[in-house]
Symmetry: C2
């Protein structure tokens, strides 16, 4: 039996062990946005170093950043001309709230049927473990066919504020031929997927301030502009009747979709019914003139991620609130620039906000959109790996989510990223009852094993 088959065999025989280790990883609630979870972040980083040591990695380090640390480990193989793969992942997770909507504890993985339910199971502790377990299987089988470097950050879910400076400082350590990023998912369990473009992000908190303190709505209502009403009016003005974003200049740098690309996107199984089934809404919404697949993948959007003002408890309180807050984020497509989008938001607010209130915005997170070369040898190595395991060639997709690191690696390390992953679109990532489809996860480990041998050409 050759090494490739030995590795595939090892992975098959060790599924129960891999799953038990994934469960350990998930149980540490590494919520990066919550200060009270800071020690869990550190525990998770330490846990990862033990994982990397356990599979035989070298030069393992917990590297400080301006925020949560980076975990690094590498294995440089004997063969001199072997290419180097930098495997990117993040070990932090989204907050689990609203907790009351979870069927089981978000940080106690629960297997029901083929799925494992937990925060981070799909995004992306499952994907991180798939890549570690694939490397483990390959190392158990013999010589590594490629050099491997692992880079796991702890701040992806808060917009990776310290990753760019980190990469700049560690350009030599991170030198590689290609990055592998398993943080994008599959369109369905039978549809392995290569993502070749990602949307960027510009995430803001907008606060509108009215009176100095909450007022009695009876004694003052009618004389003071209600900041919750003003905020609602500002938000309402951000889309027009055709679903377009109205911020001045918002579309100026948006790259138009070519006819070829529209044809490719039309082949994806992302029709109206797909989105209706996934979301449970009675009717879809979106920018006129584009299909749902185009809207999520290739068009920029603006969403309200949160609203808060005044009294929100049970019952009634007749308050005229002192301020109102909205979290507002835009998904960006090539060649939009988060800085320019921030300026257009500011221009909009200056034009539209009345003199009865004052407002301020805070940029909470931003990342550039990116687009990759699908003909790269590493991408093609992954394409063949996916095809071998699933028996069908992968789909090529533009992804609606944001992975700013892809553009950053192009810029700072001069490398393309292979974007794949084994999460499914109904995994409830960033939502209650996040889950991982285990049969797909096991297949994903097999596909990654093939990738290493394909790319190393052994």
């Amino acid at each position: 039996m050759d090494n490739r088959n030995k590795a595939l065999e090892f992975a098959k025989n060790n599924q129960a062990k891999f799953l038990a280790e994934l469960n350990e990883f998930i149980r540490i609630p590494s919520v990066s946005t919550a200060p009270e979870h800071k020690s869990d972040i550190l525990k998770t980083a330490e846990w990862l170093t033990r994982q990397l040591a356990g599979i035989g990695m070298q030069n393992i380090q917990i590297l400080p950043t301006g925020g949560h640390p980076v975990v690094y480990g590498e294995c440089i193989c004997a063969r001199k001309d072997a290419p180097t793969v930098l495997i990117y992942g993040h070990y932090d997770v989204q907050p689990a709230d609203p907790l009351d909507l979870w069927t089981t504890d978000p940080f106690e993985p629960a297997q029901r049927g083929d799925n494992l339910y937990a925060r981070g199971a799909s995004d992306m502790k499952g994907q991180v473990m798939a890549s570690i377990k694939a490397v483990e299987s390959v190392m158990q089988a013999g010589e590594l066919p490629v050099n491997v470097k692992f880079l796991f950050e702890g701040e992806e879910e808060i917009g990776s504020p310290n990753l760019v400076p980190f990469i700049k400082e560690h350009v030599d350590l991170l030198a590689c031929d290609v990055a592998l990023n398993p943080d994008t998912g599959m369109i369905g369990p039978d549809a392995p997927t290569i993502t070749y473009a990602l949307r960027g992000l510009a995430y803001f908190e907008l606060r509108v301030y009215g009176p100095e303190h909450d007022l009695h709505s009876g004694l003052f209502g009618g004389t003071v502009h209600n900041p919750a009403v003003v905020l609602s009016e500002l938000i309402a003005g951000m889309h027009n009747a055709t679903g377009k974003v109205t911020l001045p200049g918002f579309y100026d740098r948006v790259r138009a979709l070519s006819a070829e690309e529209r044809a490719e996107l039309a082949r994806l199984p992302l029709d109206e019914k797909h989105f209706l089934d996934q979301t449970g809404v009675s009717a879809l919404y979106g920018e006129e003139g584009y299909t749902p697949a185009e809207r999520v993948g290739a068009r920029p959007t603006l969403e309200v991620n949160g609203l808060l003002s005044g009294f929100t408890g049970v019952g009634s309180k007749t308050v005229l609130p002192a301020y109102a807050m909205a979290k507002i984020s835009m998904r960006l497509v090539p060649d939009q620039d988060p800085k320019e989008v921030e300026e257009s938001l500011i221009t909009y607010l200056k034009e539209k906000s009345p003199n009865t209130v004052r407002w301020e915005i805070t940029n909470l997170s931003s990342g550039r959109p990116s687009i990759s070369d699908i003909h790269h040898p590493a991408t093609q190595a992954m394409v063949r790996g996916l095809e071998t395991v699933w028996g069908t060639p992968p789909l090529y997709k533009r992804e609606g989510g944001s992975v700013p690191i892809v553009g950053d690696m192009q810029r700072l390390l001069g490398v393309e990223s292979v974007l794949t992953g084994f999460g499914l679109s109904d995994d409830n990532v960033h939502a209650p009852n996040e889950k991982l489809h285990l049969p797909t996860w096991y297949k994903g480990i097999q596909a990654l094993i093939h990738f290493f041998y394909n790319y190393g050409q052994v």
Copy 2:
């Protein structure tokens, strides 16, 4: 010394005792909207029965309702033709949140300068105690000049949902010639005030439901209508550019202001500067064509009292929320009807809400507007009492707040209400750092003593 002067003297000599008793009353956090304070509500009711017993009231009872109980006590004087005054008050208070904006504990009264800071100090534990202490002073001086009945409810701050059925059941017990309601305030410490009209209230919770659960804003943003955006658009459409409420038929039953009434309202010291000073805003807002005093007193308004959707914690979470909630209330003026206003809100929502979401509203509280006869002998007895103490005739005011019980008593008991009170417009009622101006409170007790003797004509 006659009884009136004896009573006035007693009140002057017992200010420290009165204040200590008010502090005891305030320390029980009788927040009616919060289920966790239910036992405090009962404690407060029991505390009040001890107060009433202590000053010599009879037939003291804690009477059950469908919600928090009513406290009752009476003293029927010897004189056969004495008129009966039903003194209304509420012993419940608003929630104290946001707690971080309080300088001192909201339920531990703190005296700073002339003011006593605490939740309920002004609205309306201070006013309840002023009326009890005035009756105590009169009884200490000799025979009561009028029959007195006390009715203290525990649900005013949640819209008195059980008071109308309670009054209907106890019409004989509550029989009286006039009601005294000290829940409306004074325009300033030197401006005693009689309120002759009150706005009504219609308070709703509006929920807009989108996807079945929170979605990843990258993976779904652009295909699903964001319920926080839809809610904002619905709210934005509720006012037009001239500050008018756009709900269909909203103004149909609004009684137009007469030239005489506008002239009377123009004499109130409620000019633009007053509202700017009270609120700290840089510019006022409101319905075109009306002065600030008219807008708060005699015109209906619509306010957003609360907003909640999606992620509202520190940092960023890229969620497309499953639902969005707003607390929305309207202040009503004669002859608007809360039921009709609810229908016009429903009509508006049916017309304006898109088919991409569903919505529901809950009526949390409602009360009719009211307007009273200022020539009633009891009102004139209070007018003379206020003039005696302050040395200036009181102002006549239309009040922006809502005291639905006034209209209910007209309808169910056939009596007018004398509306006064010793709270000031800068008391921060329903807001952090609520306070009571103690010199005004002591004067108020004196004025109430005069009222009893004036009305009893002894």
